[in-house]
Symmetry: C2
Subunit: 979 residues, 2 copies
């Protein structure tokens, strides 16, 4: 090994002017310095980086070295970036928004802001697929599920979806499937949030669902509609603020076998009879107002809850309780068999990355406030709305909805100038109200409104009505409730101890840190998850995110208030186009999978525009990530699999045969490049040509873009559209399973079809409907990728890809001989990740899982396991890991290989050895009795450096089957604990 040496700053020698900044980002971002890189190159037999890259990346797809350089993307130093970010923040105008429509200015409890949202221990881990080293955030997500379940009064809740609009679409699909895809009419009440509708429309299209929008109660009178009805979506309270009794509607829908889907608001449910008590089958919404910044649209966690009978049909991740090998309780991801990588093209949902970090924040908010605190917040919000309503009524505004929680719709007809006079008066005092029409104005209250803002708000209405100004003393405290008696909540909520203990900041802080202490994240060691690109998420890129000028912005504010945001969005889109070689981009999709779906919809729209709407076949390699076939299905495409050759490369003959066979209906080919096997295959352009020759379009899954930047690009490879995972290549942290951003970039001929949004500037009539509730998706975290790109600059971006390739090849070199590195290219090179095959060990009773769990004992998060090949591990180091860390990981793998040898030679029994018994948590090591054929010392400290730095799994191996059989997905209540 080359490790245990000291390293210098990579670019120390290149300081040519005293005026060059000293805080250039590339040398902090890239793990190995130049000396280390040379060492690694020489180990691999190269004397230059260029020679290595030429061997690793097929020359025919290489792009000019100027395509991504410091001219095309100039580099800012860290302090320059922060200065620029501040200047852009200052261009966003700090208006107070009373717009509502599902987005609120949350009050983030400072202890949660700093210790969850701004804490790398919470924002850098991956999805908790390895439960033994993820009990902290698994517990937190169970808290979230419990919170949702309790507030909605449903039986099961999942661990979050991307946003309210896509959650509604997922629910629609559940309704469709629950009729065995026979009934195709889905009724949407006209008072749902307007941004939900286009998302439903686009999703409905792929499945041939027929959406009917109208007054739901009235529409249900129609027998034709009833006979084909799969479900109904209502909003509770609705977009105008009205709170309606949907119990007879529910009965009516159930009587024809449909599902009742209720979009709602968690805070309102502190006061409203919960949907679970009046017959809803699916309840969903945005949990953002539980302490998550508005962020110009997101990210926020959508919640999703169902009745018991639907629990195994629920999309998204579900955390359940199981037991570990010692019989103790342990959480883990439940029902993994349902995930799209198993259901593939039969899946009706492609959700993968969701919104774990934001779900955790919302759960922590509920824990911090507890039921009493949440009631108090609901009381305030409702009380302000009542007091406001009385005050403006006395100014002559009539209120359209008498039953409300936090939102009222006011008639401004009596005002000269009508609604627009009110909006003008509002703008003059930096306030946004909901724009409805010439007559009506909407006002929504949230927790953040201060008494003085309240008075300013009322005086807008006074001014518009030419009445004299009021002061706080003029306002009467409300009495009673504006919620009709039968719709008031009578049941208690959040009785579980976890929501009733941690109310002091001290206790809250300790709970947050206690949970974090159980989990491996990037603060500990490399997380070499293939296809996940777990790289450095720099502090400089994270800092601006929580500045109020970025975090407290409503997504529907007028564009002239968000010039800073718009500049960032535009610059990031432009840079992504530069990098991918494409023409246009959109940041709307909230995950990679959402990007895939959007991209395929764009392809469909393109075909349609050319009168080829019938093209509906999508070729997808068998090795593709499960989201690919799932997304294709959702876009209404028929998936036809394509084989791979023995050497891992695409079977071009099979591709050609299938393309030609489906020639008339060929819509698309979806390919990941470099392939999910971790190789750049040289035939990619040929493959794309075959597709184009047969009338298809090429969708490039950009999950592996980290191997490409500045070396090749999706356009050069032959693609027409691609998505990128900003939470992979572009350094948005994974947040323990989200947030993510999955922008798509498209060639010029596809650009007109990129998604529109009801509130976005006109995009032309060829644009597809939106794929997210917010116009720019999870806008706030796009800042992270923007900062990342700007700080690396073109050269740094390209160098990052080079180092990602070098790191992976160095590891392949070290592990070869010990393990079977399954695929390499003709020059013996892998791409930015490598696949090692453990199949040979199975005859000795050792499975991939055994190696993975044993790695935990060495303080490492295991690589991606059993995907894309069940007997393999997919290892991706990224450019951010230093040589020493690569060596530490390789040392661990090699040591485990030796431990395995003892099993193979019979020194250690097949069923009782270091691997099959792994991981070894502290509680096992500390047991008084010890009947294993190896020592505690060997179990816990197999390599010397573990003595100084050891991360302990907190439970023994978790039993998945048990948990799935006994599905428990919420916290125990007081009664259960007592029992």
């Amino acid at each position: 090994t080359l490790a245990r040496r000291s390293r210098g700053l990579a670019t120390i020698h290149s300081q040519t002017s005293i005026f060059s900044p000293l805080d250039a980002f590339p040398e902090r971002h890239i793990g190995p310095d130049e000396q280390e890189a040379s060492l690694m190159l020489s180990k691999l037999g190269y004397d230059s980086m260029d020679a290595f890259i030429t061997d690793a990346v097929p020359p025919k797809i290489r792009v000019a070295t100027t395509s991504v350089d410091n001219v095309s993307i100039p580099a800012l130093s860290e302090s320059e970036l922060l200065e620029r970010a501040q200047a852009l923040a200052d261009q966003n105008k700090a208006f107070k928004s009373f717009i509502g429509m599902g987005y609120h200015t949350a009050v983030v409890p400072p202890v949660i802001l700093r210790n969850v949202m701004e804490n790398p221990a919470w924002y850098t881990p991956y999805t908790p697929y390895q439960p033994e080293i993820a009990q902290g955030r698994l517990e937190s997500l169970v808290n979230y599920q419990t919170m949702v379940k309790s507030l909605t009064a449903m039986d099961f809740a999942n661990a979050s979806l991307l946003d309210e609009a896509t959650a509604a679409a997922e629910a629609m699909l559940m309704a469709f499937i629950s009729t065995a895809q026979k009934k195709r009419t889905f009724l949407v009440d006209s008072a749902v949030l307007p941004q939900t509708l286009p998302v439903l429309r686009l999703r409905a299209k792929g499945f041939g669902i027929n959406i009917v929008v109208g007054d739901a109660v009235a529409a249900l009178e129609d027998q034709n509609l009833r006979s084909d009805l799969c479900g109904v979506l209502v909003q509770y309270p609705d977009v105008n603020g009205s709170v309606k009794d949907f119990s007879s509607l529910a009965e009516s829908v159930h009587s024809v076998g449909g599902l009742v889907i209720c979009a709602t608001d968690l805070l309102a449910l502190a006061m409203l009879k919960p949907p679970g008590e009046w017959g809803a089958d699916v309840v969903l919404g945005n949990s953002g107002r539980f302490g998550v910044p508005a962020g110009y649209g997101g990210p926020h966690a959508a919640f999703f809850a169902v009745t018991d009978k639907l629990k195994r049909k629920m999309p998204g991740r579900l955390i359940g309780k199981s037991r570990d090998a010692e019989g103790g309780p342990a959480y883990r991801l439940a029902l993994q068999t349902r995930e799209q990588h198993i259901r593939r093209e039969k899946a009706t949902s492609n959700i993968c990355t969701s919104q774990a970090l934001l779900a955790n924040m919302a759960a922590m908010y509920a824990i911090y406030h507890g039921p009493a605190g949440i009631k108090r917040i609901a009381n305030k919000v409702h009380g302000y709305t009542q007091a406001f309503t009385s005050a403006v009524a006395s100014l002559g505004y009539s209120v359209e909805n008498t039953a409300f929680f936090d939102t009222v719709t006011l008639d401004a007809s009596h005002v000269s100038g009508g609604a627009s006079a009110v909006h003008t008066a509002a703008a003059a005092v930096n306030i946004n109200l909901r724009q409805i029409d010439d007559r009506l104005v909407g006002v929504t209250f949230d927790e953040s409104v201060s008494p003085s803002q309240f008075v300013t708000l009322i005086n807008i209405f006074a001014s518009a009505a030419s009445a004299s100004q009021l002061s706080l003393e003029d306002i009467k405290e409300p009495i009673g409730s504006a919620i009709p008696e039968p719709l008031r909540r009578t049941s208690e909520f959040l009785p579980h101890p976890v929501f009733n203990k941690y109310h002091s900041e001290t206790e809250m802080l300790r709970y947050i840190h206690h949970l974090a202490s159980k989990d491996i994240s990037l603060v500990h060691s490399m997380i070499p998850l293939g296809s996940c690109t777990m790289k450095l998420n720099s502090t400089s890129s994270m800092i601006p995110l929580t500045w109020p000028q970025f975090s407290a912005v409503h997504p529907f504010v007028p564009f002239d208030q968000v010039k800073g945001y718009q500049t960032i969005i535009k610059e990031l889109e432009d840079d992504l186009c530069e990098i991918t070689g494409f023409h246009s981009a959109t940041l709307q999709p909230n995950s990679g999978a959402a990007g895939e779906y959007a991209g395929l919809c764009v392809i469909r729209a393109y075909h349609e525009s050319r009168g080829e709407a019938h093209r509906d076949v999508c070729l997808i390699p068998l090795s593709a990530h499960g989201t690919n076939p799932a997304s294709a299905h959702m876009a209404g495409l028929k998936v036809v699999p394509v084989k791979a050759l023995q050497d891992g490369s695409l079977d071009l003959a099979d591709l050609k045969a299938k393309a030609e066979l489906h020639k008339d209906n060929l819509a698309a080919f979806m390919i990941t490049y470099p392939s999910t096997f971790g190789v750049f295959e040289s035939g990619v352009q040929d493959a794309c040509k075959i597709i184009h020759d047969n009338g298809g379009q090429v969708y490039l899954d950009g999950a592996n873009l980290n191997a490409q930047v500045g070396l090749t690009n999706p356009a050069t490879c032959g693609g027409d559209v691609c998505h990128l995972n900003l939470h992979k290549t572009f350094a948005i942290p994974h947040g323990g399973g989200g947030p993510g951003v999955g922008p798509i970039c498209a060639a010029e001929h596809l650009a007109p079809f990129l998604p529109r949004h009801p509130i976005m500037p006109a995009k032309g009539d060829q644009a597809i409907d939106s794929v997210a509730g917010a116009p720019f998706g999870s806008a706030s975290i796009s800042i992270i990728s923007w900062a990342y790109v700007k700080m690396l600059g073109g050269k740094g971006l390209t160098d990052s890809s080079k180092l990602a390739l070098l790191n992976a090849n160095y590891m392949a070199g070290r592990l070869s001989g010990h393990y079977n590195v399954r695929y390499k290219n003709e020059n013996g090179r892998v791409a930015h990740e490598l696949l090692i095959d453990l199949a040979d060990f199975s005859k000795h009773g050792l499975k991939v899982t055994d190696f993975a769990k044993r790695l935990q004992d060495y303080g490492f998060h295991p690589p991606t396991c059993s995907w894309p090949i069940s007997t393999c591990m997919l290892i991706e180091p990224t450019e951010s890991e230093s040589l020493e860390e690569l060596d530490r990981f390789c040392d661990a793998m090699i040591q485990i290989r030796q431990e395995a040898e003892d099993v193979i030679t019979g020194k250690q029994p097949k069923d009782n050895n270091l691997l099959t018994n792994a991981p070894h948590p502290m509680s096992v090591i500390a047991k008084s009795e010890w009947n294993r054929p190896y020592s505690r010392q060997t179990a816990a400290y197999p390599l010397p450096w573990l003595v100084e730095k050891k991360f302990w799994p907190t439970v023994a191996r978790v039993d998945d089957a048990y948990g799935d059989l006994n599905l428990v997905c919420d916290c125990p209540s007081v009664e259960e604990l007592a029992a």
Copy 2:
């Protein structure tokens, strides 16, 4: 026990108006809610808080309930506070300062900012007196010591002092002592930092040292001076920027047996021959520019390094390497026997709290940049200074100092209007320069200066000289060096691996988190350190601190640029006066001990002003904290100890006798109230009267103010002046051993004597000289206490004291019967802390340490041990701990008592049992062999809740004696590691 119940928000029922804020701070700050408080009261036999308080606090010293209430100090909610703080921040003008004089705008590496300075795991621990649960920050402080040692080329460096000025005073005392206090002349070069001088002057006074200020080289010609010389202080580079060769000066001073003390700058030492190479005996300075915000004066860590022969005389804390019970390496505080609580009135230094957090930041900065990075920064700073000098020379400004590092003094005589024209031009573009006189202007560069600021700066000089404006292109890159050849550094620095590894952000992040993971802090569990008041440090109070408008402010800027800061300072001073009952306050002292010294100097000045300069006797109870007699000694007072009675109270008869005996010379009486034994004694006013009757003044040590707020106050108790530890009662976090703020509050007759400062508004000629380098001490962290006071409001402050008393009495109740609670008042009540006496266990071989170390196995930081009584533990819970946490701690103590019983009854051997073997780190539990008379399980998990939440000590019991014998206080070098 009362634990395991759920708790609600304390004030949920008091929400009388919808307009009341929902984020009132008291309910988050105070651990127990009202229901828990009632439970505790009833356990103690009270039916109301009032009844309890009446029994706990002597009625005769009680103050009116209106003295500290929401009228005298109105409460702001958390969001209101943050809004106010933002408004005040906006009142500070964002000028760029080129003032120098020891303060710089640091560039804080973002990864250090967020993960050290803004991370409670780093800012909430206490001084690492318990090394087994503090190896992380001990290692970090050793890194700091190593950094200082290496850059200065000295033999030993300590773990920080309060600031450069006080460090210089400490050095002066070392010089004085090194002549056995025989030689009284201390020579100070006239080009030292001007703020250092008054601090030296005041300190010299107490010891009768005679300070001579002048050109050091010239002054040394004087034989009279030479014969009485104990030492010389020079500044290198000096305040005007000159770099001088002091090697012959050093020889000359050594030839008469004096010490050469060099105040210097760590960054300059990357280029300058280090003082250790030209004969300095003591080297000191401010490490702030190594990544610590200027903060309007602090806090920053002063560094302090000495030659080998002085190592055991060095003031402050020294971290050394020792070994643990298993023979492994372990760090710990070295030479604790030297600390003032041992040396007491013989001490010449009273340093206790120092600047650990800032020292850690500086060390992390050096680790992040490494020697190459630091050289590069020095190059930039020097290069900018050179380029600037050439540019302004061409504009006609002559440069006074040709040898310089980062500072030049320019002659502006040729400019019409002279220096003041230059300053006017600077102010017009928001730039501050150093004001010297009508002719000279000082300019200092630091790492933060950007090229555009550089150009703006030059153009100030162009404008003033009526020359045309320059642009960056006009500036020539410097060649060569402005440091004379013989003064250039040739030796390498920071060769140790720790400074040469963690240069990528990923590696840095992991190192920071790895160290933090070894240490117990408030994020884990209560830290019941008696006399230390380890309470909640709220996030809201911490947030404003790192806003640039507060953090990037030079302490010597004109007052009109810091209106926000001045408001905060004024409001905090006023509130502290309200709370203490005194007339005036100053925030200047940087620690409690510095406050004591300042207060005693004020008393001396008062006596002097009345022609009673001879009054020099200070009565101090034997139980006083060691800083008290040390401070008295430093203020030139003679300490006369006063006895305590059997019941712990002051022996009034002894006091009276001694007061009368010393009547003619009585200067002061120093008393801690409630006493260090944890009781409010009712005789305090009588005691003070005795003192006053005999012509003395009363100094009240306010360390225990947390027991008093709103219930009594130092003025009512009879005091004339007191200090407060803002890092105790007023919630500044302890930072692992500092920063601290030790303001003093004084009665009206003493107010005229409060310290002045060279740059502070005139204070009248009775003011004493300053006690710190910065006018308002560690101004930036005063914001934390300001926020704390404002958010609690008067009622919350008073309630906090009540709950602090209740928590302590509840614990006394639970522990009585199991342990001997040594002192209670006549009603059976303790104050806010309790003393348990473990003397009876010693005959069974169990010492206080054994109980303390065993507590670590339960996940608790032990209470204060063996102080103020060697056989005791002093336990202070604070109001922030919840009932559940109090019970957890008491459960642990009671369980340990049972474990001790097994030793007493002989079940477990005296020398091999759970207590004497404690703590049990993971590495011990995981050992293959186990030959102890108890199980691993019992060692590691003695109580059930430890299974869920266990904090592991990382080393076994540390051997102090071994470490002191083999004093090693720096990191191993590459060579040592290889050997």
